[in-house]
Every structure is written in structure tokens, then in C-alpha cells.
Symmetry: C2
Subunit: 143 residues, 2 copies
DNA sequence: GATTAACTTAGAGCGAGCTTTAAGTCAAGA
DNA sequence: TCTTGACTTAAAGCTCGCTCTAAGTTAATC
């Protein structure tokens, strides 16, 4: 089963422009063209797009994704370099997770702040809510 | 206690260029200048930079951050709009958290894939490790 | 045969967020 | 007084990741 670029755009949420851009950039080395010169995407290409999306959203740049895809094309001898890329990427995702939790705390603080402010006015927030006063010091006075 | 732009750069990890850019862009409306025209940053300014960093890293654009800071300047009558911004931001962060976990699964899959491949060769991964075969279908064959 | 719609290419353009440049001011120390 | 170094400004330049344009091809339908 093969898909046209328009179908892939629908399936992935990427635009046809973006798909052509990725292809030209070297992210989709296996995409074939039919006799009319139209791209035919396979399931493997879709899985690769899925992975590209994952790598992109975990912070890898297109250039680095292209490097990884180049390595895949080179076969078994690049196995350990590819393995290292994912180990490193996992570490960076763990850091992001921690950062996300810290940011969640800050947003939660702001939400409690505004709840209190809506009740008592901004001038009275830290008088009315001592917990907020202490959380503020903990979360924002880092310098 | 006031800080020079260079000190703030050190404390925050932002460049002096970026700090001036933020100021000019309207993210730091309260930063004063001394008689020589040099910026003097207060603790409040540092806390605001901390918040800007948080909003930025949870996906808000500088334009939207500026809008929030404009609202702060307008006082109490914008309280509920500011509250809404944080409620919305919290929702978007929860979505990011889910996406992060999905991506973590995919990275873990790849790590297990390469561990197996390094042992048995890429040609044998799915023969040697049936769990990987099923995880692959689950994680990447979404289309 | 003409129209339509989906595709093709090369290449220009765009928005975000910095980053650098060029030219100048200022204050402290040798 | 001269130099040094940290600052100031306005504005140009840069990278990334698209996004759009212009001109053309192809295949199916009226």
C-alpha cells in the first residue's frame, strides 16, 4: 500500500510543503517516485515520519535527525553511534521532564496567586495567604 | 540591591544582548536606568525574568508574554484575564507532559532495539525479541 | 479537446528569537 | 591624561523551520 503526498499530509498533519521540504532536506531517503514523478510513501516512510516527529519534539534539530537517518542508511557499522544518540536523547528528555515539573509548580503558584487575588485583591494576597508568600520565595527568588 | 546588565546575564544565563532585546521588546517595563543611562535590575526584575523563562519554556511566545506583562501593568482590572492565561498554560503543560511520556516510550523502544541489535545484528532483532516486535507495532504503526 | 485537481520543481519569503555590528558614552585606575 | 572595560543605541544579519510562489506536468473527467 502506497500513499500520495496529499494522503500523507492528512495522516500526519504535516503540510505537503513540509513533506517535500523534509524529502529535499534528506530526511526521507527511501521515498520512491512513480513513472509520473509523483512520490509514493510506504508504511516504512510513515513510521519514519513518526520517529522524526518524536525526535523533533524531544529537541533534536533537523540537521541532527538527518545525521541519524544517514547513519541508518550506512547499515550495521553505525549501530553503536545510533544507540548513543538515543541514550543521549533519553537523558535530555529526563532533564526536560524535571524542568516541566518545576514549571508546573510555578504555574500552580500563579494559579493559586490569582485565585487569592480575585478574592481579596492583589494588595492582600500575601497577607491573606502565608503559604503563597513562602512558595513565592521558594519558587521565584532564586538569584 | 541593584544589578548591572552584566551581572544579570551571569545570574540568568541570558546574554546581555538578549536582556536588552527583551527590554526593548517590552518584557521588562520596570527596569530603571541610573544617571549614566545604565540599566539597574532589581530583585523584582530578576523574578520577572524567572517567570518569563518559565512561560517561554512552557510554550508561550514573546508576544504573548508581553501581553501578559502589559496586563500586569494595568492593575487589578486585568486580574481575571491574567488568571485565565495561567489556567490555559497549565492545560497546555499537561498536554506536553503526556506527549513527553509518549516520546519517552518511543525512545525506550529504540534503546531496547539497539541493545538487541548490538547483540544479535539488525536482521535478527524482531526474531530474537518478540516484545520489541509487538512494541514496534504499538508505537510506530499509527497510520 | 478543455478543464480540473493533484502533483512536480527551484527558489524566494517569512516570523521568531536572538546575535552581531558600528559608533559612541562613561567612570575608574595607571 | 590615557586606557580599559562595561555599558549605551539603532539597525543589520543570522538560523531555523517552514511556507509560499511561479511555472509546469500529468491523469482523470466533462
Amino acid at each position: 500500500m502506497a500513499y500520495s503526498i496529499g494522503q500523507v499530509a492528512q495522516l500526519t498533519g504535516l503540510s505537503t510543503h513540509t513533506l517535500r521540504y523534509y524529502d529535499k532536506y534528506g530526511l526521507l531517503p527511501k521515498v520512491q517516485k512513480n513513472s509520473a514523478g509523483l512520490r509514493r510513501f510506504t508504511e516504512d516512510d510513515l513510521n519514519l515520519l513518526n520517529l522524526i516527529e518524536c525526535l523533533k519534539s524531544t529537541g533534536l534539530k533537523l540537521k541532527d535527525i538527518r545525521h541519524y537517518i544517514d547513519l541508518m542508511q550506512q547499515g550495521e557499522r553505525t549501530l553503536s553511534e545510533r544507540y548513543q544518540i538515543f541514550l543521549k536523547q533519553k537523558q535530555s528528555l529526563l532533564l526536560r521532564q524535571q524542568e516541566l515539573l518545576r514549571n508546573m509548580e510555578k504555574l500552580d503558584f500563579k494559579i493559586r496567586y490569582y485565585k487569592t487575588a480575585l478574592k481579596y485583591g492583589e494588595a492582600n494576597v500575601y497577607k491573606k495567604n502565608k503559604q503563597l508568600a513562602s512558595d513565592r520565595a521558594r519558587l521565584f527568588a532564586k538569584f
